[in-house]
Symmetry: C3
Subunit: 432 residues, 3 copies
């Protein structure tokens, strides 16, 4: 993978005005489809009931700005799509500063940041502005222009299914509903696009992969309302990929009860790659694990992030831009998820084929001269063998013997070739 | 409740000479019955076998004192009933100081305290005296008068049954066998008398309540020998109420294995009301949990106290008086037990009625404008909902989401009214 | 037991040249048999397959030395049998220093130590020498003489079965394959020989005992290959006795999953006898627990040691001599294993025969006068009684009530005599 591949992709989709619906979503999905030709783009019509929710009207924007009394164009949507509050209704009117001010949003503590605000389910309009600019606004007549439309239309999402040897699935979910912000969230779809290519290249894939590019909340709810039975039957592990762009330490959001295969593998990778990663409580959740782990859904979905939403000042402002994320930040997250996939693909239960320790010397696997220190030289191999009892999987053993799981892949293969261990047939997994 | 209600009651019963049997017990039960007209006063005759024990003879005292050589009346039972060792046999004799001294009890480390001593199961007599007075006794002839009787009679205890919607019971047990001492023990029957009134006022009581006023050890053994089968079938949670009068931090004595509903609710209340409460080990027990938690009995009985028996210098001496306890000390314990009852009454399992998060905005339960901080404003509601999976009860959820359980009562009701959650019918609970 | 009994025995067997086979093993077993006449000496012929292994050829040595250019005899096997690498093939040749050097082994960090080296499964020859002597060797012609034989023969081990009331067994395993070294390993067979005498003197033995004196690795593998089914059916607890000779703190090597009866009793004894003992991880194993705990074998075998193999500088060198071990070191380990046996023999489950606390006063087991402090005087008895619920064994209760188990043996007997508790018949144990 080219070192700038993910960052360049993020840069490409950054300027597009995305929301939970609209042409920006379709444009983004189109770019993803260019990279992943097997991506299917689904549509759900406005008004369709999804569990407790209804698909909202589709929102599109042609232009939006304010003309100040001195004729200056401010809060110009064309300069920064964050200036317009998401789902603002169309409007064209002139009003004084006092009236206008009720529709302005800024952050006094961050005077140079444009905040990101939406009002999906209540008909409103508004502009977001830096607090320093807001303070300079003078009395007078302001002309407000919002050339948007809020009409029956559709909600769009992308879905990629990559087949493996079994119908058991690994699930990835990421967002395509945020406008021009970096970590939250052009990072997620950018990393997952490259990750999908990685998965397509895994040879002899054990698992099938279900990867979705959706708007947050309404998208996951809609997707679950259509696919729940299938997902509950098939998904072995799942990951909600968000905030994966910056260079800070990794963060971990567990699944609701925190002891699924997803949690186990994610924690193992983080512990071995970034021992000081930050482990959050499920009480601090705020992304689509809210839906995936809700009662009656209960999918094994957790989240590995770089800096978590709500945990950085730039979050949901114009400061979360292409400078906040970086090639190395994105690539690091990509590598963590690649490791997760590698472990899942290699995480078998093995049983010893012989009783007691094998005679490794005869097999050329053990030093024949027994010196003071030779006991330790084959320790990893002997430790691995001693726990291959069929009840523990490779990942359990890696934890027990304090080795990164990936250091055991080759070893397991060699021991299998030597007929010292046998891979167990999993009865949970149906052949595809 | 009047702020002095419990303390005034304690003051009223303080002077009465109580023991494990006798007229003082009946007088005390009469005063409790005046407050709780439904109280039933039971009698068990002397000699009746109760498991490994026999109901002892009934002990009554008319008068008891010592005449010193100088004619002064000392150790006068009428001044302080602690002066006479409990269950002292009747005697009238004159003896020299050396002989008398064998029958005197004092505390060298607490020279101004009269100790509390009893000899229930061996025919003895004795006087308790301050060590400073004992040291002043001069040689000479002392006349000892104990006008007591130890005859076949009865053991008495009070029992109050308050019916609820189900036959499942909450059990409270307290002592009426200690003479004039404050924390151990006019505090227990005083708090439980007011607590009984509180329970009688709980509307739509889910549980039935079994409340007993008994002498320690022989009383609980006798009560268990009569009611064990019924208690094991019905009691969901139970509490031994003792040492609940002073103003110091709370103490907790767990049930034998420490993981019953009683332990869970008591610990939750203490943790949220007095985070520095003192948690004892069952090895430090010394009250009727010794019987309630004994092998083959195994009732879920624990104990919330103020300062625990044996843990304060004034314990079992005349210094544990009406000054050692206080209105606020008694009221605090009363409130803790009220909270325990409130939680038990409200501690249901709930299940979500819809899949995924509900659309709260449509129901007016969620801010429609999604700002940087609005995520956290409904966090408690969303956290509560996410754990309503039918397996966890309200108390489990309160612990998981780090909220006092009582903050969830109204919320649960509102969510039930909105048909977002449904109370589960407990199959453990038979309808009354 | 005479205070020098174990040390004198160790001294007697110390000089013998032992290896995994050969006359030195038979001579050692003969001395053990003199002390334990019921010991059976088994033989397995060279070439016999044992799981993945084959019994090697038998190795015997008549003489071995090097003649230096100046005619001095060095590395003389008759001075110290460590000079000859174990399983050296016979050879007689003259070679220069450069060629000789390839066959010499020394320890630069321990210039005065002769290392202990073996080459069981590859035909090699070699001499072990102190590094200081090696450095002084001058150029010239060296004559090497190894008058050894490596021929089809047999592997020998000793087995002692001591019958008890049941067929359930306690298992002890120790080594007779190390040449002249003290802690590792004349200590093991020396301690186990005396321990066997102790077991033979235990009256009314509940358990049967299986005690084996074997060569390490090949011996345990061979023994398991013959006895596995029987061992898995009968062994309740087992111990690998090694490195039990020095005076340092005790060490503990758990069984693979660390929660067997063996682990429980060994940890209890160590905790109560030497609270600062060193607890190792199974990852640090290196003795025959490698076989006894291997997958599919899974016997409950752990190890109490003094200073563990690999954990001391003298390990596997000539410095691990009779000065490294001591009478008190050996006797301490002996006593720990005696305590382990005592607990196993006394570790019954008891049930209360009466409900609630018994009336101890009537039985003369309780002070009749109830004073401020008398509550604590019978605390151990009451605590023991309160946990005799049939589910917990004596050792569980000892842990719960924080008493050494041996302090409860007499108490349990007295309570049984008083018919307050009843020993449960174990359904796991078949009558012999």
């Amino acid at each position: 993978m080219n070192v700038n591949e993910i960052y360049d992709f993020a840069k490409e989709i950054f300027p597009i005005n995305r929301s939970i619906t609209g042409s920006g979503v379709r444009e983004t999905l189109g770019i993803i489809q260019r990279e992943l030709p097997d991506l299917i783009i689904h549509t759900i019509p406005t008004g369709k009931k999804c569990f407790d929710w209804y698909i909202p009207k589709e929102w599109n924007v042609i232009d939006a700005y304010i003309l100040a009394p001195d004729g200056e164009k401010i809060c110009d949507f064309k300069n920064n799509n964050l200036h317009l509050m998401g789902y603002s209704v169309p409007i064209e009117l002139t009003l004084d500063l006092e009236e206008l001010d009720k529709h302005l949003h800024s952050l006094p503590d961050q005077p140079d940041a444009i905040p990101y605000i939406t009002s999906y389910y209540k008909d409103e309009w508004g502009f977001c502005i830096t607090d320093s600019q807001r303070k300079k606004l003078k009395d007078g007549a302001y002309s407000v222009v919002i050339d948007s439309s809020l009409k029956d239309g559709e909600l769009n999402y992308g879905e990629l299914l990559i087949k493996g040897d079994t119908t058991e699935e690994i699930f990835f979910s990421t967002y395509i509903c945020h406008p021009s912000m970096g970590n939250n969230e052009v990072s997620g779809p950018s990393v997952v696009t490259s990750l999908s290519k990685y998965i397509q290249k895994v040879s002899n894939r054990r698992y099938s992969y279900r990867i979705i590019f959706i708007p947050e909340t309404i998208g996951s709810i809609a997707y679950l309302s259509i696919n729940l039975m299938d997902m509950q039957k098939k998904i072995a592990a799942g990951f909600n990929v968000t905030c994966v762009g910056d260079d800070n330490n990794y963060s971990f959001m567990p699944s609701k009860h925190g002891a699924t295969l997803s949690d186990k593998v994610a924690l193992h990778v983080l512990k071995n790659r970034d021992p000081v990663f930050k482990k959050f409580s499920f009480l601090e959740r705020g992304s689509d694990e809210r839906q995936y782990c809700s009662p009656g859904i209960d999918l094994p979905v957790c989240s590995v992030m770089r800096t978590k939403y709500l945990e950085y000042d730039e979050y949901h402002t114009s400061l979360d831009d292409l400078n906040f994320i970086s090639p190395s930040g994105l690539n690091g997250a990509y590598e963590v998820y690649c490791s997760i996939i590698d472990i899942l693909e290699n995480n078998y239960n093995y049983t010893n084929m012989i009783l007691c320790e094998p005679q490794l010397g005869r097999r050329g696997m053990y030093p024949s001269t027994n010196t003071k220190n030779s006991n330790s030289s084959v320790a990893v191999m002997m430790n691995f063998l001693t726990y291959c009892d069929g009840n523990l999987d490779l990942l359990d053993i890696a934890e027990l013997i304090k080795q990164p799981a990936w250091d055991l892949f080759e070893l397991a293969k060699r021991l299998e070739d030597e007929k010292l261990i046998k891979r167990q047939v999993s009865h949970k997994v149906a052949k595809a």
